[in-house]
Amino acid sequence: MIYADNAATTKMSEAAVHTMSALLADTWGNPSSLYTAGQKAKEALEKARAEVAAAIGAEPREILFTSGGSEADNQAIRSAAELGKKAGKLHLISTAFEHHAVLHTLAKLEKEGFEVTLLPVHEDGLVRPQEVADAIREDTCLVSVMYANNEIGTIQPIREIGAICRARGVLFHTDAVQAVGHIPVDVLLDNIDLLSASAHKFHGPKGVGFLYAKKGIRLTNLIEGGAQERGRRAGTENVPGIAAMAAALTETIAAMPEVSARLAMLRDRLIAGLSKIPHAALNGDASKRLPSNVNFCFEGIEGESLLLLLDDRGIAASSGSACTSGSLDPSHVLLAIGRVHDVAHGSLRLSIGEDITEADVEYIIRNVAEVVDYLRGFSPIWRDLVAGKKEFIL
């Protein structure tokens, strides 16, 4: 199988598996216990915290371990809203193509009386810093812009947006779930106050992640109980998972310069190859994108049938079509960059990983072209387009 769905999840690295198994077997004490076995677990936990902090330029006490990216997003936004409420600031700014962990949290806050502005992301899938500046009001308590988009891979001008928020005294959160471990992220250089990340996107285990909160920012608990995580998240810590996350992150970051250069080269080859398919278009800016991400729309076909046939040919990928999401609407990300429903249903996301070969890239290009051609062969939309009864969009 060629696994080209690394944006959905990644395979755990050997270092992560090894670390996790070793701790599951040997370091099973409760880190809150004062005897030696507990303190050994505590040591593993704090070593992981230091490693994770170093990976993004933070201090260990600014890292809070969570159950993943969704929890970190929820807690970051809830906390900012809570602080805003105390100061009489009920306005939040985000973007139209955030992950649902952000969008649904914001929708819930709206019901509670907050006001939310969702900025446009334009055809290239990029937020304009000037539009962030223009949207900030006296009563704005948070700006939340994702570092890199999970579907189209576009990398946002985070440093500039962070600088604007800093200058205006507004908290800045970034969902960096797709960025951490893939591109350089530094919370100080990037002017970030709150950042979410998830281990399973960088070869760590599922169900583990972290929230960075700049010191001095008071977090609101989502989970009440014991005093773990400086009292900001109750529950006995998932020590093996957290240690495995740190091992995966440290290794991934060390390999990043080499891996990302190679992936970007293969990504560009995929983009060039798939662009040769008639009436196809790349989604999102071609250069300001993750080295791993390729996302296309093919006119006249539907994404789920494309994925199923690619799976038959040993290629695992994903799509933003309605039928893969279980709703009637295609991906909100593709709609946000202005793709109309007709073409948004025919999308394909390939998110490649370091084990991909040049031969795999050629295989993908050839097989996607064949399957698209086959499906168009009995698509009534394609017939109408070719017959001139409908106008091509792409």
């Binding site: 049938s305 199923l308 429903h341």
Partner: protein
């Protein structure tokens, strides 16, 4: 667990009766690109019997499989019997569909009915 039954995958991978009938006696198209599934059915009818049927579909795996199965279920049948085809019959013949995919089988039922209505309209006039 697989997303679809073996039957669905078989009809999806090897759809029966794919194509166009140029001199069809009835043609029906239903669905729209907004919801992601469009089906077009072509019927050849002789002496009130459906002698040939072809389809074209833009849609997901279950939409393609439902179209294929629906054509199989009405081929060689009298018009009156084909009119009674239900989406449930299509889904059952496919050994079931996931709940959120039932709308695709509804579309197959509607496409057949729309093509039959087109035939009856032409028939009544001619």
């Amino acid at each position: 667990m697989a997303l679809y039954s073996e039957k669905v995958m078989d009809h999806f991978r090897n759809p029966r009766n794919v194509g166009v009938i140029e001199d069809a006696d009835g043609v029906g198209e239903v669905g729209n690109a907004k919801c992601g599934d469009i089906m077009k059915m072509y019927l050849k009818i002789d002496n009130d019997i459906i002698t040939d049927v072809k389809f074209e579909t833009f849609g997901c795996g279950s939409a393609i499989a439902s179209s294929s199965m629906a054509t199989e279920l009405i081929k060689g049948k009298p018009v009156a019997e084909a009119m009674k085809l239900t989406n449930k019959a299509v889904a059952e013949a496919l050994d079931g569909l996931p709940d959120y995919k039932m709308h695709c089988s509804v579309l197959a039922e509607e496409a057949i009915r729309s093509a039959l209505e087109d035939y009856e309209k032409k028939h009544a006039n001619g």
